[in-house]
């Protein structure tokens, strides 16, 4: 055995962190099978009631709505992000490239609260868009945009767009330009080159982008909470409400667990569906 200096020193802290995260997730698992004792923070005995309660239409609806919002956001982001990623990779001017990159990436680092608040000011009844439309005389009364799925999705697309563009650009920039040039020299129109060469070769980026956008949207809390205003409810909002308004931590735990299972299942399905596509892409 060769000498491995610092092995233990370097691995132990990481192992402790991994242990902490595992313990936290196990704590959720453990709470999810315990009974809720009203008025007490201590959970009761073992039960599966939390999971049967998930089947109630009230909660099932929140899951469906969440999945729908995630899907809508991921697909919108894909269609909006693709041309931007394409332009980012193909731009000839370095200044234009940095401009796109910095503008794209900034919302990613802004934090959910600042971003959500900004959208409230843009979309609210006294907000920017309504004031503008009123001044221009296009509408007579403020147009209600807050508390709708559309505005929640708009604000969510704003934050998933950076990740999508970065992932698509990574895939696009690793396509060897030789293939596109070969197709062009054989007389394919630019649109045909794009549809038969560029698009299939960028599939790994599309899959990675859509999956990440989906998972991120699922994780969103402040945006559906503040812009949805209780009328659009996602799993995250329900978990918080159960924990901090009713102190029903066992049920909150089982909801998070079901949410995690749903995300993992969807990611697995997407990988599975994408595998044959990726094979074409990676030849």
């Amino acid at each position: 055995m060769t000498s491995r200096p610092f092995l233990r020193t370097f691995v132990t802290p990481a192992a402790l962190c991994a242990f902490g995260l595992t313990a936290a997730l196990l704590a959720i698992l453990q709470y999810s099978v315990r009974a809720f004792v009203p008025g007490s923070l201590e959970p009761g005995g073992l039960t599966l009631e939390n999971f049967t309660a998930l089947m109630k239409p009230l909660y099932a609806r929140v899951f469906l709505e969440t999945a729908w919002i995630c899907l809508l956001t991921a697909i919108t982001t894909l269609f909006v992000g693709y041309p931007v990623a394409y332009a980012l990779v193909h731009a000839r001017s370095a200044v234009f490239k940095s401009l796109i990159l910095v503008t794209i990436v900034t919302p990613l680092f802004l934090g959910e609260v600042v971003r959500t608040y900004s959208w409230i000011i843009v979309l609210g009844n006294n907000g920017f868009i309504n004031s503008l439309l009123l001044k221009l005389g296009l509408i007579a009364a403020p147009f209600q945009m807050m508390f709708t799925i559309g505005s929640v999705v708009t604000a969510l697309v704003h934050v998933t767009l950076p990740v999508m563009v970065v992932m698509l650009a990574a895939a696009l920039s690793h396509i060897n330009p030789v293939y596109e040039r070969a197709a062009e020299s054989l007389g394919a129109s630019p649109i045909r080159v794009f549809l038969t060469i560029t698009l299939p070769l960028s599939t790994p980026g599309v899959v990675a982008g859509v999956t990440t956008a989906f998972a991120w949207t699922f994780s969103a809390f402040a945006t559906p909470q503040l812009i949805g205003g209780g009328r659009v409810n996602m799993v995250s909002n329900l978990v918080y409400q159960l924990g901090f308004a009713s102190f029903n931590f066992p049920f909150a735990a089982s909801l998070s667990l079901a949410g995690l299972a749903m995300t993992l299942a969807l990611l697995a399905v997407m990988r599975f569906v994408a595998r044959p596509l990726e094979r074409i892409g990676l030849h």
Partner: protein, 272 residues
């Protein structure tokens, strides 16, 4: 490239579309800036009178001050701990085969995938069980877990890119492993480690959902304080503090892009 020249309307369409998307991304920040300068407490566009009073009010607001202090404490501790843990582990990942290598790596990277509200709830329950509820330690540890994947990734990439022969040269000249590490490896890694630290500091300072679960009244970070403010009040102090946030973040990002090349960090500069 050729495609653009031959098919000008496609190129023009793409440019127009990209301009619109960039506008969409910038719009909220611009609108917030305008709102922050409004002298009146009620939102009006365009503002009738310009004033900086909301900036003064936001800076004087006690919850924001405490939030800033807590936020900076958590950010500095969490990014530094994550940097040490992550760089050390990346070193072991790169150089050695050992028991549990894949398992630890997978668990640490999984925090990228698990929703933040789940991680927050998990640490809240765990902290309550071991009697640490709502202390700053739990907040810091939660943030370490959340930023570790980013530090791990950037340290690992830098480790792959350094010239191992320099280490071998130092070792063959008789330097013990600790000296090689301190005088050769760490200095070579410095730029990668710095960018990893910067990235995790930005992420930690902005982290909200998990923090909402694990912080209490006394330990709330700035994003949590801001969230509580939005729920209770509607005056433009929130816009003012948002503007400060946006300016600081954009400046840091522009700096990071200038010095470190965001394109390289994010792997979008490929074969072109």
């Amino acid at each position: 490239m050729l495609a653009r020249r031959r098919n000008n309307w496609v190129g023009r369409f793409i440019v127009a579309f990209v301009a619109m998307v960039l506008g969409f991304l910038v719009l909220p920040a611009l609108v917030v800036a305008i709102a922050a300068l409004n002298a009146k407490a009620v939102l009006t566009f365009p503002p009738e009178q310009i004033s900086l009073r909301w900036f003064a009010k936001a800076l004087a607001y006690e919850d924001f001050q405490n939030g800033l202090r807590n936020g900076l404490t958590v950010t500095v501790w969490a990014s530094t701990i994550a940097l040490i843990v992550g760089a050390g582990f990346a070193f072991a990942l790169d150089r050695y085969q050992f028991h549990g290598k894949r398992t630890i790596e997978t668990i640490l990277l999984s925090s990228l995938l698990v929703p933040h509200f789940t991680i927050g709830l998990g640490f809240l329950i765990l902290a309550a069980q071991i009697g640490l509820a709502r202390g700053i330690t739990v907040v810091i540890f939660t943030h370490v877990i959340l930023v570790l994947p980013f530090v791990l990734r950037s340290a690992y990439v830098s480790l792959r890119n350094i010239d191992r022969r320099l280490e071998l040269a130092a070792a063959s000249l008789g330097a013990p492993p600790a000296r090689v590490l301190a005088t050769v490896t760490v200095p070579l890694l410095a730029p990668g480690l710095a960018s990893g630290w910067l990235l995790s500091a930005i992420l930690s300072f902005n982290e909200f959902t998990a923090s909402l679960f694990v912080t209490g009244q006394r330990t709330q970070t700035l994003p949590v304080a801001m969230y509580n403010y939005v729920r209770e009040y509607a005056d433009p102090s929130m816009a003012a503090i948002s503007v400060m946030y946006i300016v600081v973040t954009a400046t840091l990002l522009a700096l990071a892009n200038g010095y470190l090349g965001l394109g390289k960090v994010l792997h979008v500069d490929g074969q072109r």
